[in-house]
Each structure stands twice: as structure tokens, then as C-alpha cells.
């Protein structure tokens, strides 16, 4: 919501003076927003927001013991205010594309919708929001009722009835029978189109798509039974620590698992090898933990989502030992810190062990693929058993890094599509025999590629071996081609290389990156992070540079996929490039502690960066 608060209010005042009924009906028909637009807005806001509880009764006591999912959300007005006051707001608003969007018919219709809310409630839209949910909001799913329910806690009890009535009147504009009013235990109740049921109880509004759920919520609140959800031990244990979060949610995993609901959430096996390698351990945790809690926190320069599960990583099944390892193995896991990396992945995985446990981890269809790969790779490694002798010769843990390429120092023409250079890094148990085997396999691969390239009429690789410090670097660079038609070829992004220094082994897409990684390995500046099982980091500034280098390709893609002409496509890609500069870093970390496994996803904004270019 990046419009000024006064805009809608002024719009509302203007409409009060000369109310256009036709406009309302047209608006209602077009968007169907009129039907409880205020309530819907609040509800949707609720998903992004947490609660300030001022009542003596625990707010969660409105829900039954059979609640399996619970969420609490900050007052929506605080979130809206946070967005409106955000340092990035001005930058985003000043983008020409956003300026254009603010003039679009969709946005005007949205403003009109807010205007109608203001007309019917007699309050500005933000005041209405505060009156309805200024105390926050709760959301729950009840397994027994098989229904979801929500509670909006008013920020101004005195005006709650007036605003609610205004919204219900608005909902009734198209059809006077849309809203039905009634009472339950002296509590005012309403139904909208028999699809949404509402009760107005003290300073709060209870909502659900099921009438029985609303009745149950009223009963729990009025009767103050000792069987309510807020007494759940697991919930109590985690809820206190999360009270300042924008959104906090809790789920009873055991109950969900045992009830057979959402079976897809609890897979025993991964759908593919990549997924197993990346998140296989999380599957173990999901199938073992009793509960999970998640929180979303939004600040000026950070958006962070955390998911945490109680889990003993040392007691995992044998086939998933490869994912977590023992304490001593984790302590020996190191990574090389590459300056200016655009993206990096580091993960503790004993791939050799995973390969040997493949029969327990994968289904038949994947096993046949793996057997085929095993046989091909064993051939490439001159008959060595790929699982035991090749992967088994590596230490647990790997790292993948990518960075923007510098094409100035290469002899080959610049490719039109600029692919970032990337490297796969791991450590070897044996630094004598194994590296030579790896080197021979690499040479065989380059020889095979050269035959393929020759058949396609493409330039071929020239193999070179050199010593950089103590590191051995073997690289294959393209021979410059006399054929002008090959200028701009995507192949020129690559000079596949391997490097060995100490026990570090580096496989890289370019010679430059292999050399730089080897230098870092030699300097001994490796990092130990035993609690971080998996970490993925993407740096906004570097990604922006990569996208900028490929702007022409992105424009072409946009033209074909969106049908835009060049100027329109350039503007769309320009917007994308601008937006990327607002992101400093995106990270995903899977952390383990003695008794929990947690996943943190964070987007760090470059809100105050002076280097962000607003106008291109």
C-alpha cells in the first residue's frame, strides 16, 4: 500500500457529497470486492500481522483443544504503517513503471473500493482497519470441526459495531438478502451469502466459513472451559518467545500426521535426487517432530521467516546419517569464503554415504537411473567404484559458488549470453592417489568434449597444466576461432578447470575461478560453521550485475513471452533490474542445535543504500 493515506479519505469525502450508486454497482460487479471488502481486507492483512493482547483471558482460549494450527498476527495498521514509512517506499514509488501502475484502472478501482469502505463505515480506511483489528488477529484450524476460524480484536471497542454495520450494509448493496442477521446466546451474529459467518462478541469479531465453528468459538469464550487450546503445553512453550513477531504460527505436527491430513507434507522419500540432497533431512524431522512453529518478522531492512521443529539430529535413521553427520564430523566441515560471490551454497552432506544408502532413500525409478550413472561414472574413473572409491574418497560437505565473470582477461570472444562462473568445492581424504585419478577423469572428459565440439563445427579446447603457488591447476580453454559466425557463442563462457591445493579439490567452469578458489584454499582462510547444516546465499548487487550483463537477452525473452515491443520490454526489464538493486542479500539457512532443527529464510533490503539507482 504505497498510496498516501489521505487519498482515499479525500475520495471518500468527495463521494459522500455526490454518491454515485451506479458506480458502486459497476464496481461491485466488476471486482466482487464489495461483499465484505472491509472484512476481507482485514482478514488478508491478518496473514501479515501479531497481536497485542490486553484481555485477562488468554485470546487463544476462544479455540477448542482440537485446534491443530494456530496463528497470531500483529495489528494490521502497524504493518500498513510500517510499509508506508518504509525507506524504500519513496524509491519504489518513483519508478516510472510504478507511477504508471498508480494511474491504472485496476488501481483506481482499488481506491474506489477503499472509498466505498470509507463512505459506508464513516471512517477513513486506516481507522476502519484499526477499529476492526487494532488489537491484532488470531487464526486457527480446528481438526474436529474441519474448519478455520479467525478472531479480529478491535482497537476501538466503542466504534466496532458502527464499522461492522457499515461494512455489512456495503455487502448488502447489490442484493439486500446477502446479509442475514441473528443472535446466538445474546451475541449478535451475521451470515454473508451463507458462506461467511460472523459474531460480534465484546471487543472482537469471530469469523468462519462454518456456522458451527463460530458457535463453538462463542461458547468457548463465554463458558471459559478448561479444555481450551491455549492450555496446550507445546503451544505455551513456544508462544511466549515469539510475541513480538509480525506473524507467528504453530502447528501440531503429530496430530496432523496421525490424522492422515496433508500426507504430502510428510514424504518418506524425496521426489528426486536433488531434493533429497537438499532437504532430505527435513523430511526426517517432519516425520519425527511433534510440533512446528513459524514466525515472520518484518523490519525496515529485513524480512525474515523462521521455521523451527524440536528434533534430535543424532537420532536420525541410518540412511539419513549422511545429512547430519556426527558432532566431530561437523566440526571438521569447512568452506572457502569467496569475496564478491553472487551466490553460494554450502552443505554438510556425506555424499559417499548417501550413495551407499541409495537403496533406502530412493524409489525404483531413481535407482535404475543411479545404477546407470554409477556404471558410466565408474567407466570415466577408469574402473574405480564410483560410490566407494570416488565419492568415498571425499570428506563430508561441499560448496558451490558462483560469481560474475570478468571477460576482459580472456582471449576468446565475449559470449552474448553471459553465464556466471561457478565452482564445486570439496575436500579429499587422500591427497596422493585420488587427485591423479580425478585429473585423468577430467582429461578424458575434455577429450570426449573435443570430439563432440569438432563434430558440431565449434571451437575446441586446449588443455593446459600450471602451478599457481602450491596449487595445481589444469584448465581447458577454447582456441580462438577464425570463424566470425562463432563470435558471441555461449561456449565462450567456459574454460572448465580443476584445481588441487592441500586437501581442497575444486571443479570450476572457468580457469579464473578455479585459480582464485585455490588461492583462498592455500591461504588457509576457511570457515568452520558446525551448526549450519545448509546455507544458501544470493547477493543482490552481484545478481544485479549479472542481469545487467544479460539485459539484451532478457529484453529478447520478454519481447517473445510478453509480446512487448523493444521499448516496452526494456522498461519491464529495467524495472526488474531496479527492484533487484533494492535487495542486499537473500539467504536460507538450515541450522541444527542440540534439540531443534530450524530453517531461516531472510531477505535483507538495501533500503538505505546510496548506490541503488532509482532512475535509469
Amino acid at each position: 500500500m504505497i498510496f498516501k493515506q489521505s487519498t482515499c479519505f479525500q475520495f471518500a469525502q468527495c463521494k459522500v457529497g455526490r454518491f454515485d450508486h451506479g458506480l458502486l454497482i459497476r464496481f461491485a460487479r466488476r471486482k466482487c470486492w464489495v461483499i465484505c471488502i472491509g472484512l476481507a481486507a482485514c482478514l488478508s492483512s491478518c496473514f501479515f500481522a501479531s497481536t497485542v493482547f490486553a484481555d485477562e483471558k488468554h485470546p487463544g482460549s476462544v479455540f477448542a483443544k482440537s485446534t491443530i494450527v494456530f496463528a497470531k498476527i500483529k495489528p494490521p495498521k502497524q504493518i500498513v504503517q510500517q510499509l508506508l514509512d518504509h525507506p524504500l517506499r519513496e524509491k519504489v514509488e518513483s519508478l516510472p513503471q510504478v507511477q504508471q501502475g498508480l494511474k491504472s484502472t485496476e488501481f483506481v478501482a482499488f481506491l474506489a473500493g477503499l472509498g466505498f469502505v470509507e463512505v459506508f463505515t464513516g471512517e477513513s480506511w486506516d481507522s476502519s482497519l484499526d477499529i476492526l483489528a487494532g488489537g491484532g488477529a488470531l487464526f486457527a484450524f480446528d481438526a474436529k470441526q474441519q474448519a478455520a476460524g479467525a478472531v479480529l480484536i478491535s482497537g476501538d471497542k466503542k466504534k466496532l459495531s458502527k464499522v461492522l454495520k457499515g461494512l455489512l450494509k456495503l455487502a448488502n448493496q447489490q442484493n439486500t438478502e446477502t446479509v442475514q442477521a441473528g443472535e446466538y446466546r445474546d451475541v449478535k451474529a451475521y451470515s454473508i451469502d451463507k458462506r461467511l459467518f460472523i459474531a460480534e462478541l465484546d471487543d472482537r469479531i469471530l469469523l468462519s466459513s462454518k456456522k458451527e465453528m463460530v458457535k463453538q468459538m462463542v461458547d468457548y469464550w463465554l463458558d471459559q472451559t478448561d479444555e481450551h487450546f491455549a492450555l496446550n503445553e507445546s503451544f505455551q512453550k513456544t508462544s511466549e518467545a515469539q510475541k513480538d513477531k509480525t506473524v507467528w504460527a504453530w502447528a501440531d505436527l503429530k496430530e496432523i500426521r496421525d490424522s492422515g491430513m496433508a500426507e504430502a507434507l510428510f514424504p518418506k522419500q524425496a521426489e528426486n535426487i536433488g531434493a533429497e540432497l537438499l532437504i532430505g533431512g527435513i523430511f526426517s524431522a517432519l516425520n519425527d517432530s511433534d510440533s512446528v512453529d513459524a514466525s515472520l518478522n518484518i523490519t525496515d531492512d529485513n524480512v525474515e521467516l523462521s521455521v523451527s521443529m524440536p528434533f534430535d539430529t543424532d537420532s536420525v535413521a541410518e540412511e539419513r546419517k549422511y545429512f547430519f553427520g556426527s558432532e566431530s564430523e561437523r566440526q571438521s566441515f569447512r568452506r572457502l569464503a569467496l569475496p564478491n560471490a553472487a551466490a553460494s551454497i554450502q552443505a554438510y552432506r556425506d555424499i559417499g554415504l548417501m550413495w551407499l544408502s541409495k537403496e533406502d532413500l530412493f524409489g525404483e525409478n531413481h535407482l535404475s537411473e543411479l545404477s546407470q550413472a554409477d556404471s558410466t561414472l565408474s567407466t570415466l574413473f577408469a574402473g574405480l567404484d564410483f560410490g566407494e572409491e570416488v565419492l568415498g574418497a571425499t570428506k563430508p560437505g561441499f560448496q558451490i559458488v558462483a560469481r560474475n565473470q570478468n571477460y576482459k582477461n580472456i582471449d576468446t570472444p565475449q559470449p552474448d549470453i553471459k553465464i556466471p562462473e561457478f565452482a564445486f568445492v570439496f575436500r579429499l581424504k587422500d591427497t596422493e592417489k585420488v587427485p591423479r585419478r580425478f585429473k585423468v577423469a577430467y582429461q578424458s572428459l575434455i577429450g570426449f568434449l573435443n570430439i563432440q565440439l569438432a563434430m558440431q563445427g565449434n571451437p575446441q579446447f586446449d588443455l593446459e597444466s600450471e602451478k599457481v603457488g602450491n596449487a595445481k591447476v589444469v584448465s581447458a580453454t577454447y582456441l580462438p576461432d577464425d570463424d566470425d559466425e562463432n563470435d558471441g557463442l555461449i561456449n565462450y563462457n567456459f574454460s572448465p578447470s580443476i584445481a588441487l591445493v592441500d586437501d581442497w579439490f575444486i571443479i570450476s567452469s572457468t580457469r579464473a575461478l578455479a585459480t582464485d578458489m585455490a588461492k583462498i584454499g592455500e591461504s588457509g582462510e576457511s570457515k568452520v560453521t558446525p551448526d549450519i547444516n545448509t546455507s544458501i546465499e544470493v547477493m543482490g548487487k552481484q545478481v544485479s550485475a549479472i542481469l545487467k550483463a544479460n539485459e539484451e537477452q532478457l529484453i529478447a525473452q520478454n519481447m517473445l513471452e510478453e509480446g512487448n515491443d523493444r521499448a516496452e520490454a526494456k522498461a519491464a526489464i529495467g524495472l526488474l533490474l531496479n527492484l533487484v538493486t533494492f535487495v542486499k542479500e537473500v539467504s536460507l539457512q538450515l541450522k541444527r542445535s542440540d534439540n531443534a532443527l530450524s530453517l531461516n529464510f531472510a531477505v535483507e533490503l538495501d533500503a538505505l543504500s546510496k548506490t541503488s539507482k532509482v532512475n535509469r
Partner: protein, 444 residues
């Protein structure tokens, strides 16, 4: 039917006035359809002048845009982006006749990227076809005979004197220049000898003089130490060649139905007299009485249907998706089904494709990536000041249909246009979709 009168230039009269409907026909056949403003503008000019204007060259800014886009497609190296690229060009180009004729030659000299699997070769061939599309036929045949994509497609990358490759010489006569029955097996063998030494090395044509058969060849009534160039010249001197090309041009631009030889003859003569000047021949065809008598006598190809709809309703969309849909309907550019190209005509429609053709229209109208120049179909009719449902219906009839709507169809479409339960935009979209479901919409 009087052949002479048939090919005389159409002169509007009281009985057959020059109307938007006639202009729409010309733009549909000589391109992929015209916008309403183009129809209105052309209605004020003479038919001949409108045809002449269709030969105007493309703007330099558009060519620059296309060149940049082409470079990106080349660097991507993915043949599946080729159809998207060409569809984009077809929809956006002002030189509609050039694109339409390039598509004709693409079907004539059919080469599939599926087999060639080389973006550069396919784009080079496409540019070759475009450069020669409205020029003389013989240089085009000569260039195609040396085209790496064509020779790769026909497994003719090598042609040695000890073992002449007959593939190309067979297709040269059967599919490209003469048609079946106008040559015999000996002619194929002899012409194959003339092409010996013509080979593709490192994706380029080269003449290998060591592999050329310098001996005397006898074919199609001629005898001499002919090479490939001589062979093309001799083939095109055959009387049947001009008739063959004339018939194909008439089928492509005028009618799917078989045309009497007496009607073909004047166009064949024109080709012979002008040394196979394709542009001049097409100009005569598009200006003729016969052309304007053929309104609604052709079945729209999938490309004409898809690109045509986007152009006429002044919209643009997702060409990647359109290319996939066209593939399902049997006409994905750069991917003809076989060496004979697309059969066209009635083969476009069967029980499966008919429904898919209508669905394609629905997809294009409602796809979120479809962007309308005037904000939507409501914006389109408002832009052209079509206010009443009757005016709107006539507007779309002139724009989209070759044949007039029946009274019962009009009545049903008017009901859709006046359905107050729907928003104005939805009413119009449903009407256009309903028009697309009519048999008349399948005709051009």
C-alpha cells in the same frame, strides 16, 4: 470463367463496391489481417494503390529491433525459440505481404529445425527466403540449392562423383520446380551428377572441384557438361515449371480448390515473360477480379488464425505459448511436418483441430499476457466509436469474417452482446469467442 477477365485488375463498381470487407480480404490473404484503422484508410484508396503499398519496405527501426532480437536468438542456440521469434515478426511487421510470402516459401522449400537442429542455419535460410520472397525465382532456387539448412535436411551434405546423391535433384524437380510427372528417373540421376561436388563443410556451402563430375549429362531434353547452376536454369526453362509455381501461388493466395489450367495459364505466362518475377506475379494476383471473387474460399491456416486474430484486434501476446498451440494444430513455423511442407486447405480441419482452433482463440482472448492496445475489446470498439450492439457486431463481422453472418447467427450474437449479466468487456469477449466458433470464421 473467362481467364483473361479473371486476371484483369479489379475495378470497383456499384454492384461490387470497394468496401472494408474487400480490404479485409486483401489484408487477410496478402498478410495476416488488418486493423480497423488500416481497413478504413485503405477504403479511401483505390484497390491497386493499396496493393502497391503492400510492397513497401520495412521501417529501419523495426529492422534494427529484429536484428537485435535475432542476435539473441542465435546466441541462445535453442531451435525452439525460432517459431516464437518469427511469430513475433509476423505479428509486428508492417511488411505483411513480405512475411506472408516468406511463409509461403518456407512451406515450399520445407526445412525442419527438428532435423537441422542449428539455429544459425535455420535463421540464415529464413533470411534468404525473405530476401528473395518477392524477387526473381531463379536466384532463390540457386541459393536454396546451396543452403546448408536445406542440404542438411535432405541428407545432401555430401555429393561425390562416384556416388551422386539423388535426394536434392529429386526434390528440386518434384517439390520445388516442376511437380510429379514432368521428369523421369533418368533426369534425376543426370541432375544429381550436375550437383556433384556441392557439399556442406563446417556448416557452409563449398564447391569441391575434385568431387564434381565434369562429364556430359543429358536431362530434360538438354545435353552438355552441366553443373548445378546449369541444372537449375534448365529445370526452370521447362514449360511445366511456370505452371507449377503459378498453381502454387494461386492456391496460396486465392483458393484452396483446384484451378482450371486455363486460369493458371495466364499467370504461368506472366512468370515466364518476367523471368519468374514473383513480386510482379503476386501483384497481378492480388489486384485481379479472380482474387476478389474468392472471398471466403480458403481455410485459414493455424498461423493465419492466431497471428491474424492478434493483429486484427490490435493485441499482442505470449508468442512462446502461441507457438506451442500452433504446434498442436499442425503449423509451427520452422517445423514443417516433412519435405512436402504443409498440405493446407481442408487438411487444417478435422474433428480434433476444429475444437482446438476455437480454444486457441479463447486462450488468446483471455490469456493474462494478451495485451490490448486499447485496454481490451471494449476499449477497441470504443476507440472506433462503435456504440450500439448492432454497430459492434458489424464491426467484428467486417474485421474478422470473410463471409457474412446468417440472420440466426446475428440474432444469437446480439443476445450475447446485450447480456446485462456480464460486464461490457466480458460480453464482447464472449461474442468474439462465439464468432470464432462459427464455421464462417474458419474461412479466409
Amino acid at each position: 470463367m473467362n481467364p483473361k477477365k479473371s486476371w484483369e485488375a479489379f475495378e470497383p463498381s456499384e454492384k461490387t463496391p470497394w468496401t472494408k470487407k474487400m480490404v479485409a480480404h486483401l489484408y487477410r490473404r496478402g498478410g495476416f489481417g488488418g486493423t480497423y484503422s488500416e481497413l478504413k484508410n485503405a477504403e479511401t484508396q483505390s484497390p491497386g494503390d493499396v496493393v502497391d503499398s503492400m510492397f513497401a519496405t520495412e521501417s529501419s527501426s523495426f529492422l534494427k529491433e529484429i536484428k537485435t532480437l535475432e542476435r539473441q536468438i542465435r546466441s541462445g542456440g535453442n531451435v525452439s525459440s525460432l517459431p516464437n521469434f518469427w511469430l513475433y515478426r509476423m505479428a509486428k511487421s508492417k511488411s505483411q505481404l513480405l512475411e506472408k510470402t516468406t511463409l509461403f516459401w518456407h512451406g515450399h522449400f520445407a526445412t525442419s529445425a527438428e532435423k537441422v537442429d542449428d539455429v544459425g542455419m535455420m535463421l540464415d535460410q529464413n533470411n534468404l527466403l525473405r530476401e528473395n520472397a518477392l524477387q526473381k525465382f531463379m536466384p532463390l532456387v540457386l541459393a536454396i540449392s546451396k543452403d546448408p539448412a536445406m542440404l542438411t535436411y535432405l541428407d545432401s551434405k555430401e555429393n561425390r562423383k562416384t556416388r551422386p546423391n539423388e535426394n536434392y535433384s529429386r526434390e528440386l524437380m518434384e517439390l520445388f520446380c516442376l511437380g510429379l510427372g514432368n521428369y523421369n528417373e533418368d533426369d534425376i540421376k543426370q541432375i544429381a551428377r550436375a550437383f556433384t561436388g556441392w557439399e556442406i563443410k563446417n556448416d557452409k556451402f563449398r564447391f569441391n572441384k575434385y568431387q564434381h563430375d565434369y562429364g556430359t549429362k543429358e536431362f530434360l531434353g538438354s545435353s552438355g557438361e552441366f553443373n548445378g547452376e546449369d541444372a537449375v536454369e534448365i529445370v526452370l526453362k521447362q514449360k511445366s515449371s511456370s505452371e507449377f509455381i503459378a498453381k502454387k501461388l494461386i492456391n496460396y493466395f486465392v483458393t484452396d480448390s483446384p484451378v482450371d489450367t486455363s486460369i493458371v495459364r495466364p499467370i504461368a505466362n506472366l512468370l515466364s515473360e518476367t523471368n519468374f518475377d514473383v513480386g510482379a506475379t503476386i501483384k497481378t494476383i492480388l489486384k485481379s477480379n479472380f482474387f476478389y471473387e474468392s472471398i471466403g474460399k480458403k481455410i485459414r491456416s493455424p498461423i493465419e488464425l492466431g497471428v491474424g486474430l492478434l493483429r486484427t484486434i490490435e493485441a499482442t501476446g505470449n508468442f512462446v505459448q502461441l507457438s506451442t498451440t500452433l504446434g498442436e494444430l499442425g503449423q509451427r513455423p520452422f517445423f514443417p511436418p516433412n519435405v512436402k511442407g504443409w498440405t493446407g486447405g481442408r487438411s487444417w480441419i478435422n474433428s480434433a483441430t476444429l475444437l482446438s482452433r476455437v480454444n486457441m482463440v479463447g486462450e488468446l482472448l483471455n490469456d493474462e499476457k494478451t495485451k490490448y492496445s486499447h485496454g481490451g475489446l471494449e476499449g477497441l470498439v470504443k476507440h472506433y466509436n462503435q456504440q450500439s450492439p448492432e454497430q459492434m457486431l458489424q464491426f467484428f463481422e467486417e474485421l474478422l469474417l470473410a463471409r457474412n453472418l446468417t440472420q440466426s447467427a446475428k440474432k444469437k450474437l446480439l443476445q450475447l452482446l446485450t447480456n446485462k449479466k456480464e460486464s461490457s468487456e466480458n460480453r464482447i469477449r464472449q461474442t468474439v469467442y462465439a464468432i470464432a466458433a462459427l464455421p464462417e470464421f474458419q474461412l479466409a
